[in-house]
Every structure is written in C-alpha cells, then in structure tokens.
Symmetry: C2
Subunit: 309 residues, 2 copies
C-alpha cells in the first residue's frame, strides 16, 4: 500500500465567474467544493488508477468534516488524526482565461496533536511499502516534522518520496529521504544553484544528494525531468506538450513515481510513468484526475536517456 | 420586538491580501468568518443598540450550522427554519485600497421548506411590532414571496419595512408594504424614473406609492435621504460625509428606521436616526456594527427639511 501524507489539507472551493475585476462585486456562476491539498491529490490519482493507497494527515472543524465526506464520496481511503483547529479552504476563481488562487494559512497543530498524528502515521506503516510526504507544514509544527516522519517510515522499512521546499526540505534531508521529488524552481531556491540548464539541474540534484537525499528527481515542466539515482543519471523528454491546467501535475507525477516504485520498476520505467501521469493531469481541468488516453500516449512516447557521469 | 427577515443569509468570509492580482496565487494574511446577509446585519445593529430583535429565515448544511454558531457567539437572537440545501458563503477579498466580492448563488428552497418557514415566521409575529424584509430571494422561491410575508405580517398587525429590488419588489408592492426603503439606484431601476435630482427621487417615490407602498424612503448615499410619508415629504441632509466601508450602511439605515418606528417617533426623528446609524456603519470596517460617536454626532447634525407639495 502507498500512504500519501497531507499534513495541511484543504477544502478546495472553485468559483467560476465571467471575469475577475478587482474592486467590484461578482455573481458566482458555479461553485465546486472538493477535498484538496497535495497529498490528497496523490491519493486521488492513485485511487483512480486502482493502486491501493490511503491518505493521512490532520483535519479539524466543520471544513475538516466536509473534506472527510468528500473523500468518502470520491472513494478515497483515509485515516486522518483530529485537531481542534479548523482545516483551511482555498478559493480558486476561474474565468475564461485565468485562475486566481487564495490560500488560507490553515490551522495551528499543537504538540500533543502532532504526537497523536505520528502515532496514527506509525500505525499505518506496517502495510505500507511507500510513503509520500507532500506540501507545506501546518502552523505550530516544527520544521523538522518531515525528518521525524522519515525516521518513523524507515523504522518500518517504507520507502519515502518527499515533495516539499524551503526550511522543511533542508531539515528533512538530514533524515535521508529515499527520493526527493521537486521542481526546478524549488531545486534552485533550496540549493542556490541555477537550474535553467540540464547541467545546472544535475548540479542541484548532486547537492541535494550530498545533503542527504538518496535519490533526486527534478521535474522541469514541459522540458521534462532529470533524475540522479543509484542506477545512474537520467533525462526524460516528452514527445509533445500538453496544454491545460498544471495544478496538481506535480502530485500526479509523485503518484506515478510511487506506483511504479511500489511495482519494483526500473528507473526509466518509473520516470516514463510519472511523466505520463503528470501530462495526463494537465489535460484534466481538476487536480487529482488523469486523462487516461493522454497517460498511455505519453508513456509510450516519452524518451528516457541515460547521461554518463 | 423587531423581526429581521433574512431569506438568503450567508457566511461572510473576508480575506485580506497585499494586493489582488488576477491570474496569480495569493497567500491570505487573515481570514474572518462571520454571519452575513442584509437581515442578519439589521439584527446585528439592533442587538448592538440594545433594541429587542430577532433574525429569521432559512439555513442549511455545515455553513448554515457555522452561521448559527456565529449568531450565538455574537449574542444575536435567531429563529431560522431548516432547509436541505447548504447556506451560501460570500468571499470578500480586501487589500489596502479595494474590496472584491464573490457572491455564491445560494441554495434552492423547496415549496415544502418555504411553507415550513412561513409557519415559523407567522409564529414570531405575535410579539413583533415591526418586520423588516431585506435582500434577495433564495432560488426556488416565487417572486411573490415578500408579498406573501407582508400579508402574514399584516394579519398580525405588524408594520413592514421592505428593502429589496427588481421583480420581488414589484410583486411585493401589490401587498401594500408599510414602508419601502431602497436606494436611489434601486428606485430608478424599478420605476424607470431618473433619480439624479431631488425632483426625480420624489417622482420615483410617488410612483412606488401609486404601485402600493404606503410610505417610501429613498436613500441617496452622501446626498442624504428623501421620504414620501403620510405626514409629508422630507429631505434629510448630513452635516458631513463619513469615509469608510459602505457595506451594510443600508442595513444600518433599515435598523435605525425600524428602531425609531417601534418607538413611535415622528418622521423627522426617524430619518435622523436612520441616517445617523447608516453613517455610523460606514465608519466601521465590518457590516452590522456602528461607531457610536459618529451615530450621536450625525443624529445631532443631520438636517431634516419638509418639502411642500
């Protein structure tokens, strides 16, 4: 089983309007409310692809209740730990040509709530081969939170895929995450190395490896993917660009990486699968869903090349 | 007691951001969630001014639950009738110099839910001298809804103050509302008479009277107020302009009008009180609250002039 971790989930509220005009009043045409957050998106994609998965994290308040009902409705397995604070909502305002996002800061998780969560988390790992850790940390939690979870996962022989940035990434590297999966901008900001070339991307990957990441995968949007692995260095290039909504593409990548890693696939296969799922997510209007035709097409036509040292 | 009616209440969510830039992501600095809707604002102002009042209407779902808890927290008496749909939320995005509002369409109220509400409404009127009817109708309700409520109120000898526009106003006029209180733009759009002069405003008021309104009060923002009453025609002019947030000023005006009407005050006193409360609402950042010093100052310095026929 794959355990997707979402410490700071959100209820994603999407409003469609004719056009967003700051300083005016708008009649919202349609309202959509669904569970969100990076770890929720990972579990959603895995569930859609019939890969056994479960999402865990912390939820609270009426919005947390609604998020749980939404997961049940979508058939996504979950095991969240309760908190006294209220789960955040995000509001996305969509019009014909753009999306405007408002991210609430989210609740504070207390020390005792964090301890209760880690007990829930540890209890899930007996059946888990892979753990994904995605996204920002909630308020009140130490920046070493992911390092702590990586330690617990390793005690249970689970492989950790980590997707975060900033201080929480730097601290997590000390705990030796198995795979760090970030995008080129996050790689640049966490290492101080420019990632606008393949050479730069691999230099950043090497730096992240030296700092503690066993293997490093850096996504580059339409430019593909680069991986520094124990089996060598790889570059993946998509056959064609998909237009659409990039929200959740990184989470679909993580899901594809987790699913193929759980299967014991080799690195070229894993990068092809992950890239294909990311492209298939871009083709869908909603994060956490894949266009299966795009996925198959991309998996067949993505080129993976090994780069000699 | 004053019964404030709010058929389409909302949970008002306010986000403060540095600046709203369409097409980008924003970190929300602060989140405020509070009960809203015009009738809720009326009851809130009355409660703050220690005038016995209660708000009624329809609520449903988790957002409805949160709205009720918010009313309890604010000490605002309420008696809502339940519906299966979910109460809407409004999202207001504030930055230094502007407010951008997103109004959800709100739930559908079924025929049987409407009947259940009218029974609740009728049950409240034995103790009510004044009923305020404010704002838009929820989906599913006939445009004659306010006409029906006016009929019920009159059976119980309650005085009705009506603040709505469009089709629901036109239909409501047939039922003979005691006081129609609208702004000059609403007066213009419902009568087709231009209201950019005092003469035009009184012509629109006369038309609304002919169509069924016993007395008509038309607010004109900073330009004051005009009233066509059984005691004569009056114009009110504020001594000075208040800068601030005009949201909820009309509801504070309705509250002042209801409170002074309940006291049996004469029209000049009622218009002074209502204008003062509206100005005092502008001075506060949040709808449903008054700046008491501004209220007192304005009540003392607002001039009411009788206009001969």
């Amino acid at each position: 089983m794959i355990v997707a971790t979402c410490l700071n989930p959100a209820l994603d509220v999407t409003y469609s309007v004719a056009a967003l005009q700051p300083g005016t009043s708008h009649r919202v045409r349609t309202v959509r409310r669904r569970p969100g957050g990076k770890g929720v998106n990972v579990a959603s994609v895995l569930t859609q692809q019939a890969v056994p998965a479960l999402v865990t994290g912390t939820v609270g308040g009426r919005i947390g209740d609604e998020l749980i009902v939404g997961l049940d409705t979508a058939g996504i397995a979950h095991r969240f730990s309760p908190i006294a604070g209220t789960t955040r909502q995000t509001v996305t305002i969509t019009s014909e040509d753009e999306a405007t996002v408002l991210n609430e800061p989210g609740p504070i998780v207390t020390d005792s709530e964090w301890e209760a969560f880690t007990a829930v988390f540890a209890g899930l790992l007996d059946d888990a081969e892979i753990v994904t850790l995605s996204g920002s940390l909630p308020g009140g939690v130490r920046s070493s939170a992911y390092a702590e979870l990586i330690g617990i996962a390793h005690q249970h022989d689970a492989v950790v895929i980590l997707d975060c940035e900033g201080e929480s990434l730097v601290e997590a590297l000390h705990a030796g995450p198995d795979i760090v999966k970030i995008n080129e901008h996050e790689a640049a900001s966490s290492t101080g190395i420019e990632t606008d070339s393949t050479k730069g991307v691999f230099a950043a990957a090497e730096e992240l490896h030296v700092l503690g990441a066993v293997e490093v995968v850096i996504t580059r949007g339409a430019a593909g993917v680069a991986a520094r692995t124990r089996d060598g260095r790889f570059v993946g290039t998509a056959a064609r660009t998909v237009n659409g909504n990039p929200t959740g593409a990184g989470d679909a990548f993580t899901a594809g990486l987790a699913a193929s890693t759980a299967e014991g696939a080799d690195w070229p296969t894993r990068l092809r699968r992950a890239s294909a799922w990311a492209a298939a997510a871009v083709a869908m209007p909603t994060a956490g869903e894949l266009d299966l035709q795009v996925a198959t097409d991309h998996e067949n036509r993505t080129t993976i090349e090994e780069i000699p040292k």
